[in-house]
């Protein structure tokens, strides 16, 4: 697992970089806060109401549909990686149609999900 040490290295260096950048701008720049500067920006007029309002549930529905297909993609990855080997190798020869068919079944079931989401109008944003 030695190959993963650079991930740790670059994480530490990147963290350091981010910290240095933030601190640098704190040190270098003058700070003269006024009331107007510290207000939420709303094109120069006094802010109306609060930004903490309830948003459309549609974002949740899209994120949920994303979750579904993300899982599909994650299952597809190991399948795609071994697919060519399975098709070509002698040891797995008898399995190659099973191997192909099972993923098609999986994708069809999830495609039904996409069609459901589609028909229910989750993917329409102009209503």
């Amino acid at each position: 697992m030695v190959n993963y040490v650079p991930v740790l290295l670059i994480l530490i260096i990147a963290l350091g970089m981010a910290a240095v950048i933030i601190i640098l701008s704190k040190l270098a720049a003058k700070s003269r806060p006024t009331r107007e500067k510290l207000m939420p920006y709303e094109c120069g007029v006094e802010p109306v109401g609060t930004a903490r309002e309830r948003q459309s549930v549609k974002f949740y529905l899209v994120a949920m549909a994303f979750l579904l297909f993300d899982i599909e993609a994650v299952f597809l990855v190991p399948w795609a990686v071994v697919f060519r080997d399975v098709v070509r190798s002698e040891a797995y020869r008898h399995l190659k149609y099973v191997f192909y068919g099972e993923m098609m079944v999986f994708m069809v079931v999830l495609f039904v999900g996409l069609i459901y989401v589609w028909r229910k109008g989750i993917l329409e944003w102009n209503k």
């Binding site: 290295l9 930004a51 990855v77 944003w125």
Partner: protein, 344 residues
């Protein structure tokens, strides 16, 4: 072990240095390309003393200017998250590059150096993982600013990013069907046949379609026009980074350009043979050169698109991603696997 560690540290620091410089000059390139497309001259004043150097010092001046800008944290903002958010979008963007190979290997003083920082059995998944973590920076920036534009921009942007991440992931799956590995180093090495021109895109013509899907999805992932909805300046001021100023703003910009560079490098690696090219076997130093040229060409393409195509409307964007790109990439997987099953 100590030797290896030292090699990693040096490589990582060099890579980061190159990346930061590259980001600076890609911004200059963007301004020059924009000026060129709009028949203007572009930045050409900033130089060293009397020498103008075609504006080559412009990024440096920009950086200095941004450092000395006042750093504003709005009173109503959520201070911790407000400071954390730009770092959260910059760090994953910096981290991707360690798995991308930019050359085969060179020998200096009898010490062989592989021209990639590390190789992983799950290299492409690592890239995808970092892409998916990158969403947080934007969501949290939008939420913590406590500004309506920021919140709307953050939500829209993250919904857009996750939608196109699907098309991105699924188009990569089609490539995996042909390469049979997630290790980027192996993927590139498999393309080195035929005088370094056995690129995947020449070898498997179906991948041209996959590349188009991948490229569109990666443009959307990096929030570039025609997909720059999160910052749609005519509706949302500046989207999720409306409230950000000074170096925090720069961090978001850096992350955006880093993502563009990463996406172009991944596209190069997957479709255009990575560092492969003619004579690269005899002169390994050509590898990084070929790699850079290909990446720059893809970046140029992105800029060209940016200044040619108008912005999508949000409903069009979602429809395009979910109803066209996603089914298209699934169909691509089905066709590719069928071809592999029956043709080999």
């Amino acid at each position: 072990m100590t030797n290896l560690l030292l090699e990693w540290v040096i490589k990582t620091i060099v890579i980061l240095f190159i990346l930061v410089t590259a980001v600076a000059y890609v911004t200059l390139m963007e301004r020059k390309v924009m000026a060129w497309i709009q028949m203007r001259v572009g930045p050409n004043r900033v130089g060293l003393g009397k020498f103008r150097l075609w504006g080559l010092m412009q990024p440096l001046a920009d950086g200095l200017k941004m450092i000395f800008k006042e750093d504003i944290i709005p009173l109503q903002a959520n201070r911790w998250l407000y400071v954390l958010a730009p770092a959260l979008s910059l760090i994953p963007a910096l981290m991707t590059f360690i798995v991308i190979p930019y050359g085969s290997h060179i020998t200096i003083f009898g010490y062989t150096i592989e021209l990639h920082v590390t190789r992983m059995n799950v290299g492409l998944l690592y890239v995808l993982a970092l892409t998916s973590v990158g969403v947080y920076g934007i969501v949290l920036a939008g939420w913590s600013s406590n500004n309506k534009y920021s919140l709307m921009g953050g939500l829209r942007s993250s919904a857009q990013m996750i939608s196109y991440e699907l098309a991105l992931g699924l188009s990569i799956v089609s490539v995996l069907l042909y390469t049979g590995t997630l290790d980027l180093v192996e993927i590139v090495e498999a393309q080195s046949g035929f005088h370094g021109l056995a690129w995947n895109i020449f070898h498997y013509p179906l991948l041209i379609l996959v590349f188009v899907i991948f490229y569109i999805a990666s443009l959307a992932e990096t929030n570039r026009t025609p997909f720059d909805l999160p910052e749609a300046d005519s509706e949302l001021v500046a989207g999720y980074h409306t409230e950000y100023s000074s170096m925090k703003f720069v961090m978001f910009q850096m992350a955006e350009y880093l993502n563009l560079i990463t996406a172009s490098s991944i596209a190069t690696t997957l479709f255009f043979g990575g560092w492969n090219g003619p004579f690269v076997g005899r002169l390994p130093l050509l590898g990084p050169l070929y790699f850079t040229v290909k990446v720059l060409a893809l970046i140029f393409l992105a800029m060209w698109i940016r200044y040619t195509v108008p912005r999508f409307r949000y409903d069009q964007l979602m429809r395009f991603g979910w109803k066209f790109l996603l089914p298209a990439s699934i169909v691509n997987i089905i066709i590719s696997s069928t071809v592999i099953l029956f043709m080999r």
